[in-house]
């Protein structure tokens, strides 16, 4: 049979975000894959060179709508390193708490997306409902469900009250019970086994060769975790295990993430029980002297890498970000080769790709006569209903 080139994306029902896969097929078999990205490129690295460090705090957070906090932790760690300051211990604990809450909500979210990709939408509904527990905790402490704006250069912006501490611990009890259920489902449920076992194989030597990161490599039996290998925030004193499996398939990536949920709960409990008292922020200079710094964190999707070059002014000279999804793309190409076309969505979803971002407030331009206007979600909804009503649609 003749080979067929099938373009998937940038706009396609199987994709959650715009990207393009050009898949070469021999019948149902995938022979080769070419990936084109950049459809949500926003030029953030260039923009950062013309913003002050304080402004950049909030810009960096908007690189991603799911693992936004990993980015802002990297940014603040880089600036603090060049400034040569040590943040208070309580601030380090609060940062670690948020990093792990973020991992929890991200892994619950991913488990649901994986379920959805294999037609198991009950799992999607369950996990997203449980994820709300984490979102409520994040909102309770920071005021936001996403983009928490917790960090500032020199510490954190909001403290944790005794009531917060109790609520977080209660939340962990509930989530641990639910995670126990998902563990049973992941190992025993026939729908998952049929679609995930021996699918999307990534051999350990290929995972290493292609410099893949995060749960993707840990499911190929490689013990790499930046939290343990290059400890930051308060990970050096926080006990946890690095989870790996050696099945090298999609099922392994499910198991690694489900078991990581338990480790995150363990870390959060430790943090809440050993939370030091004291200040949460130190005062810092607005200008950052000549220097450079590298910070990398273990984001939910893997190593998130940031580089800062400063020049003595209030603005960075160069800021570089490498997100874990980019690092995992060469590995995706490897996983897809030789599989069936029907398995493409779940294999791609198994690295937990994250290509864009989301925002609750939109800046709408009404043309030249009116300046930009900020519309909140409620007004935007009403505006939408009115817009469709005027065009004869019923809501």
């Amino acid at each position: 049979m003749e080979k067929v080139k099938l373009p998937i994306g940038p706009q396609h029902p199987a994709l959650k975000e715009p990207e393009n896969f050009t898949i070469t097929l021999d019948g149902e078999r995938v022979i080769d894959v070419d990936i084109r990205i950049g459809y949500t490129h926003r030029g953030i690295e260039k923009l950062m060179e013309s913003r002050t460090y304080t402004q950049n705090l909030y810009l960096v957070e908007r690189i991603c709508g799911i693992c936004s906090y990993a980015h802002v932790v990297n940014f603040t760690q880089n600036v603090e390193e060049v400034l040569g300051i040590q943040i208070p211990k309580r601030a380090e604990y609060i940062r670690t708490l948020f990093l792990e809450l973020e991992r929890l909500h991200s892994h619950f979210l991913w488990l649901g997306v994986a379920g959805h990709e294999i037609g198991f939408d009950t799992l999607f509904m369950y996990t997203w409902q449980d994820r709300e527990i984490v979102q409520d905790l994040l909102e309770m402490i920071s005021g936001n469900r996403v983009n928490y704006a917790m960090n500032t250069i020199g510490g954190v912006r909001r403290d944790l009250s005794e009531e917060h501490r109790k609520k977080v611990l209660e939340g962990m009890d509930y989530l641990e019970k639910r995670a126990g259920y998902y563990k049973e489902v992941a190992i025993n449920e026939k729908t998952i086994l049929a679609r995930a076992e021996n699918v999307g194989i990534l051999k350990p030597k290929d995972a290493l060769k292609l410099s893949a990161v995060g749960p993707t490599v840990r499911a190929s039996g490689i013990t790499v975790d930046i939290r343990r290998d290059d400890p930051y925030a308060s990970y050096i004193e926080t006990p946890f295990e690095v989870i790996t499996t050696d099945t090298c398939d999609v099922l392994g990536r499910v198991v690694v993430r489900v078991l990581e949920i338990f480790e995150s709960i363990k870390i959060i409990r430790y943090l809440m029980e050993h939370l030091p008292s004291g200040e949460i922020v130190v005062k810092v200079s607005r200008k950052v002297q000549d220097g450079e710094s590298i910070s990398h964190t273990e984001a939910p999707r893997g190593e998130d890498f940031h580089y800062l070059r400063s020049n003595g002014t209030e603005k960075p000279e160069r800021y570089k970000v490498r997100t874990p999804t980019l690092a995992n793309l060469p590995a995706v190409v490897e996983m897809l080769k030789g599989t069936y076309l029907a398995d493409v969505p779940i294999i791609v979803a198994a690295i937990d790709p994250c290509m864009g971002c989301m925002d609750r407030v939109l800046l709408l331009k009404h043309g030249k006569e009116k300046p930009g206007e900020i519309i909140d979600g409620d007004r935007l909804r009403k505006y939408g209903i009115k817009w469709y009503a005027e065009r004869g649609w019923k809501s």
Partner: protein, 146 residues
């Protein structure tokens, strides 16, 4: 200092190494020695993970930083190329994980990795003619009037 850091410093002895802090090691080499140095990291230290490649416009030339990871230690090779001849040898045959990072260098700073197997656009649009956005002398293209 961990045993990994001791081992790295021992293997790299004689090279211009700078230890910035714990777990951060920098090596500065001229671009002609890049492949030789990358080979030392690959063969003698058995490093397999390339975190990413950073590049920046220093004003007079282009600086390129290759960040490798070994047991939590970030080893960075620093090299430069002149703006009149922005070429550098590819490291894709030694570190296949570099394939996208080198395309990114080409896209945003106009650095040409010689010998790259598939050098095409990565993040900018296919029909982009606006130059290299991360160069310091870059100006945004004029917005067209509606």
């Amino acid at each position: 200092m961990t045993t990994t850091e001791e081992l790295i410093l021992q293997i790299l002895e004689g090279l211009p190494v700078q230890v910035k802090r714990n777990r951060r090691i920098f090596i500065s080499v001229p671009r002609n020695d890049l492949i030789k140095t990358v080979n030392i990291l690959s063969n003698e230290l058995n490093i397999q993970h390339l975190s990413t490649i950073t590049a920046r416009d220093t004003g007079s030339e282009l600086e390129i930083l290759y960040h490798f990871l070994l047991n939590g230690v970030v080893i960075t090779i620093r090299t430069t190329c002149p703006k009149e001849d922005p070429t550098i040898d590819t490291i894709v045959d030694i570190f296949p994980g570099a394939v996208l990072y080198e395309r990114e260098l080409n896209d945003i700073l106009g650095i040409v990795p010689k010998g790259h197997p598939d050098l095409k656009r990565l993040i900018l649009p296919d029909d982009w003619v606006g130059g290299y956005p991360l160069r310091k002398d870059w100006k945004p293209p004029q917005e067209s009037e509606e």
